[in-house]
Symmetry: C2
Subunit: 294 residues, 2 copies
Amino acid sequence: MNFKNELAAWSKLVDDALDRYLPKADEYPTTIHEAMRYSIFAGGKRLRPVLVLASTKAVGGSVEKALPVACALELIHTYSLIHDDLPAMDNDDFRRGRPTNHKVYGEAMAILAGDALLTLAFELIASSAAAFSLDRVNLVTLEIAQASGSRGLIGGQVVDMLSENQAITGDIMEYIHRHKTGALFRAAVRAGAILGGADAEQLTSLTNYSEQMGLAFQIKDDLLDIEGDEAKLGKPVGSDVKNQKSTYPSLYGLEEARRMADKAATDACAELKIFGPEAEFLRSLMHFIINRDH
Amino acid sequence: MNFKNELAAWSKLVDDALDRYLPKADEYPTTIHEAMRYSIFAGGKRLRPVLVLASTKAVGGSVEKALPVACALELIHTYSLIHDDLPAMDNDDFRRGRPTNHKVYGEAMAILAGDALLTLAFELIASSAAAFSLDRVNLVTLEIAQASGSRGLIGGQVVDMLSENQAITGDIMEYIHRHKTGALFRAAVRAGAILGGADAEQLTSLTNYSEQMGLAFQIKDDLLDIEGDEAKLGKPVGSDVKNQKSTYPSLYGLEEARRMADKAATDACAELKIFGPEAEFLRSLMHFIINRDH
């Protein structure tokens, strides 16, 4: 199966699993369950769950069994988007071309829907206990909780918020990205590896891959805001410049930012040299991320 | 040791543990850690963690080892209060006589502090793995996640919000209480019991105790809003009547509500008949709750 087909197949697997794991929209109290489903099924790329599956496959684990943990990562990612979009935070009315959660369900319900998705993520991880040895599930819980907390994702969001409309250093920009987006990519890859029974060398290689991949992803994001096509992106370009946001291109220049993204992508793939064809998907994914147009 | 002294000793144990488990206020990014600590150390009764400790003691478990899970319950309780107080929800400026989290740190930080406390709760539970067999930790994680999610605490908050300024039936009022406050009491007692190695009979008795105790707690709360002393409560009385809120006294009358509270308290203690002096604290706690003046 080629990369695009496998990516589509895994996204479908994740979507079907999410549909099974989330309370149905008609379960009482219905509004919260509708609100949770609205944002989960809003057309995300499912990058974090796919990373879990690809990483577990690279070490010979079962993709099927890793689905609850893969979906948990998507629940956490989605909760963080719902809360980020709130009027008190980024105050965004649209995401991926659709009204944001609070525009449809109101602020209170959006806050609670986010809370409920975060809580359900940990229930899902714990429910993996039937499929894996408990010590792996325990390690994965710790990994994901740490990556999502005030020393991970939330810490990145805090520093991003406090840095708004300010000139920041490259170090602070890197802190924001490493925490706000990087931490969850890293946790996704490590969770898949741990569930699949990675040895120490494999875990180190995959961790390094995830960090370089996260960096390349972020620089590409910054580049798309300058060079991207609004129609393909589904959002206006140039918002970083307009908001005077520090980005890789603004701090290092366009040429150097492109070079940094390419280098991170190359380094990411170099980390996979201990793997054979079982990691081909992770290699292709890195190319896909660096060449994407949205 | 008499009940009041033991309650004070356990509260102190919980406070000290929370201080160890929470990131220090000067850890970067400091604002979020200050905000988390502000609400955690705002003078709560520590009822939920104490229930974990009392329940584990009743079945012969170690109070010391149960501390991370006990504290996790307090983190979840506190996060739910921070989010409930937000302008989009109950819009409360004060809690326990102090400005609410968002009044001090702003709405965005209050939302993130709540998110971070919820996330840290699951990290803490997972960190118990060194002290207990992993299957107990896994059961406790499931128990607490379910009690906190859209089928528990959050579901109760949703129905409470949607029922505002409406006449509701006794059934709906009961749904709200059983979920919004009852679910976490129940999870606290069951978590303590499971960690302590309760057998099936003990777990059933303690579960029934927690449900009757939660009911008595809620009716007493309603009664205090009518008969309480503002100075001791630290908040104005009569707010339920003013907000036309359905309560046990408003639906069943003052006399009947008092009788229902007493019956629930008596039933709760009757559930403990299979236990000896090791459950004395839980019995005293029930008396304490029903006779409290704040």
